[in-house]
Symmetry: C2
Subunit: 462 residues, 2 copies
């Protein structure tokens, strides 16, 4: 195995003026009568390396027939480059084709639409845009782990298959081993789930939060990071049926601590990507979103604002602006409201806290006013809501009353109530949609373009 191009860029002094072997794919190539140039990539760094070769190569005449994306093995000397855009190049003494790519290669050097590239999801990571997107996606995922692990948080894998319905967090996919064709001819009146794999009806999880709480009450600081699912028949740029979510949960922590951690995390992730993918971010800033770098630096450099929902409503009511959705205390904030607050009023990220309890989930801590719950949404310029969380209701009487009033099946949640019976403590957590974060940090506009093989209504290719 040759050395990777990443190794060369990481420690060029190790290889400079030495004979090396690299392997990679042709990104572009041109040749004149006496010289040839190849931009070779092996995918380990965003920028390809330039290969220069001359007539001394015995297969000189062959080389410029190698098609784009052909795989090559190149021997040669690494030298400082005279050109201004690449600092190093390889003067080849030998170039062998490992495999000449078929001329039908669908990713020829020209502009392709995002829609078209989605149809070749197995090849699009070879394009500049998607190479950058998926490397940054990987770096964001790692930054999240690094952030929490360095703070001593325990990573918990919440279950994917679940028999609970997570109380309306979203439409669910059913998981079954019952033969549906046989079912048609069974003559039964109702499906007999005692015949199913788990002896009951099961679905794909929409959130690992409740299970996360159980672990927070054992480890204090935990986080989940796993796939979650929504079977919603919505065809938008921001929704996928399968996406990943990060759900930290922290014991002995109220809503303020929760906001502190969320703010620190978001700044940490962005800083990590700024440091570890400068070429990719520059590319996004040039070709995808001209305000990207400014926006990211703005997040890192500013203390996030913190206002209550009631204050947010007052701001919106005073706004010199017509909203599509009318504003009054009690409404759920719409994207237009959220963006007005974060983009035009504060011009930076804003936490909005203490929402009316009627519009929030059953497990949120009821404030003293009995009208609001200790919820928080983080709004960011360019997107709107990116994180949602709350302090959890840890007082068993209040929680039990609320669940009964909502007609929830108490048996299913008895274990969840146990967490309040045995050593209940103030605790808080939040959810970050991973793809939302990737979209935010890359400037990509469609969730289908930040997921390797996206699953949406009618689409489960590859």
């Amino acid at each position: 195995m040759g050395i990777s191009i990443r190794d060369i860029f990481l420690s060029p002094e190790k290889y400079l003026d030495k004979e090396i072997t690299v392997e990679g794919w042709i990104k572009t190539a041109r040749a004149s009568k006496n010289f040839g140039f190849i931009e070779l990539t092996d995918g380990t760094v965003f920028k390809p390396i330039q290969i220069v070769y001359g007539k001394d190569l015995e297969n000189f005449g062959e080389i410029d027939k190698y098609t784009i994306s052909s795989s090559l093995k190149v021997q040669g000397k690494l030298v400082q480059s005279p050109g201004k855009n690449q600092s190093f190049e390889i003067q080849a003494s030998k170039i062998e084709a490992e495999s000449v790519s078929d001329a039908s290669y669908p990713l020829q050097k020209k502009r392709h639409t995002m829609e078209y590239l989605r149809t070749i999801a197995h090849l699009r990571p070879r394009s500049n845009t998607f190479n950058a997107v998926f490397r940054v996606r990987s770096l964001i995922a790692y930054a999240i782990h690094k952030f929490f692990q360095e703070k001593g948080f325990v990573y918990v894998h919440a279950p994917i298959i679940t028999a609970s319905d997570a109380e309306g967090a979203g439409e669910m996919f059913q998981v079954t081993t019952i033969d549906m064709d046989k079912l048609l001819h069974s003559g039964a009146d109702k499906v007999d789930y005692s015949m199913d794999f788990f002896n009951k009806k099961t679905s794909l999880t929409v959130s690992g939060q409740l299970e996360a709480e159980a672990f927070a009450l054992a480890f204090k600081n935990i986080y989940t990071f796993g796939p979650t699912f929504r079977a919603e028949n919505s065809n938008t740029q921001r929704h996928a049926a399968e996406f990943w979510m990060i759900e930290p949960e922290i014991a002995f922590a109220d809503l303020n601590v929760n906001m502190d951690i969320a703010e620190e995390m978001l700044k940490y992730i962005i800083t990590y990507v700024l440091e570890n993918a400068p070429n990719e971010l520059e590319f996004f800033n040039n070709f995808i979103d001209k305000n990207l770098l400014e926006r990211l630096h703005n997040v890192v450099d500013n203390e996030f604002a913190r206002i209550t929902y009631t204050e947010a409503i007052e701001i919106l009511e005073k706004a010199d602006r017509e909203f599509k959705y009318p504003v009054k205390w009690g409404i759920d904030l719409q994207t237009e409201h959220e963006r007005y607050i974060t983009e035009e009023v504060y011009k930076k990220p804003v936490f909005v806290t203490n929402y009316p309890k009627e519009i929030k989930a059953f497990y949120m801590y009821e404030n003293e006013d009995k009208k609001t719950v200790a919820a928080m949404d983080l709004l960011v310029p360019g997107v709107g809501e990116i994180i949602g969380g709350s302090q959890r209701e840890h007082r068993i009487e209040i929680l039990e009353d609320k669940m009964k009033n909502m007609g929830m099946e108490m048996d299913t949640y008895n274990w969840y109530l146990d967490l309040r019976r045995y050593g209940s403590v103030v605790h808080s957590g939040y959810g970050l949609g991973f793809e939302r974060a990737v979209m935010y940090i890359t400037g990509m506009k469609n969730i289908r373009d930040v997921i390797p093989f996206p699953r949406t209504v009618g689409n489960a290719e590859f």
Copy 2:
């Protein structure tokens, strides 16, 4: 929020002889006429901290009524401890109960069976064993990410919901939004999957390898780490319906490079846990598996052996030993064979390579002998197979022939063949069952006891 007990143990000099506040749960407590002692844990480290209090506390008479697992807020001075097993203790000036645990708490200080603890999976992480298991599980997950990221591998999320059948890698769960009760009364003869969410029949993935290959041919070095599923009706200690898998895939890499990476990875993970969870490993070594530490050091300190399948068969045929499953060239190795080789012959981890092609998957590289494929299994003492991998068939004619001979649906895999049409290169990869690794490193014997909320036949609780 008080400081965490982990903070105290990480930098005691910062807090020594100072007034601090900690919060946590009572693990054990005892009191005499004039003094009381509480072992307090907040879950951030394995060992609890000792709280000492005296009659000067106004609620002295109350404190020893607080039940196990009650949550407390303790103010006091951190001092060097006179006892030999704890280096620090807190002399309390104030102890408040945040919540007194109900006396029915199921985890009283006594031995519980593993079976019983599985029925309280929401509480068992508070026990010593499971606190250690799930912290180590988290550390192993992080070590895997750290290992690959430091090498520049790109983390890829392979899709969970899939329309392909992964060619018999295992029984699959179906994923659907079709209302099965309605189906019974539809009068239809066959299920109409154009009505399903993805307009086709879909299942939960059994492996992300094929998708991983697509990304390796763009980034050279990639890995997946996500949940995979098997709907197999087997009730063993080693099989779960839902488990996590790591699948690295490396371009420009043959089977030898593949083995190098697998060996380096396994040593890295174990070293990381030895360094970061010494108390937990000592606990496992004392209470779960007396040979654990010796075995782990043995893995880290030795170069793994590498033998071919044919050599393995010769060794087994010569063995002075009766096997339940008779040995001859062509058989699939059974656990008894694997353990004999790794435990009795080599006494260390052994890679077995180049298996008969008939017993291995379609995508494996056919060797020159045309009888074997470039597969590898890593066998480790105490377990048997822990990693399985191969060099992939990158020659399109051979791969296509094989797939046709097996009667595979070529349309479904056309994208996979594209990877051989456009810049095909030698590439290799392997799969590590995450829970197998956790079992190996903790000494735990049942896969149900290394998964937060395990899913097995008939069991999807919580």
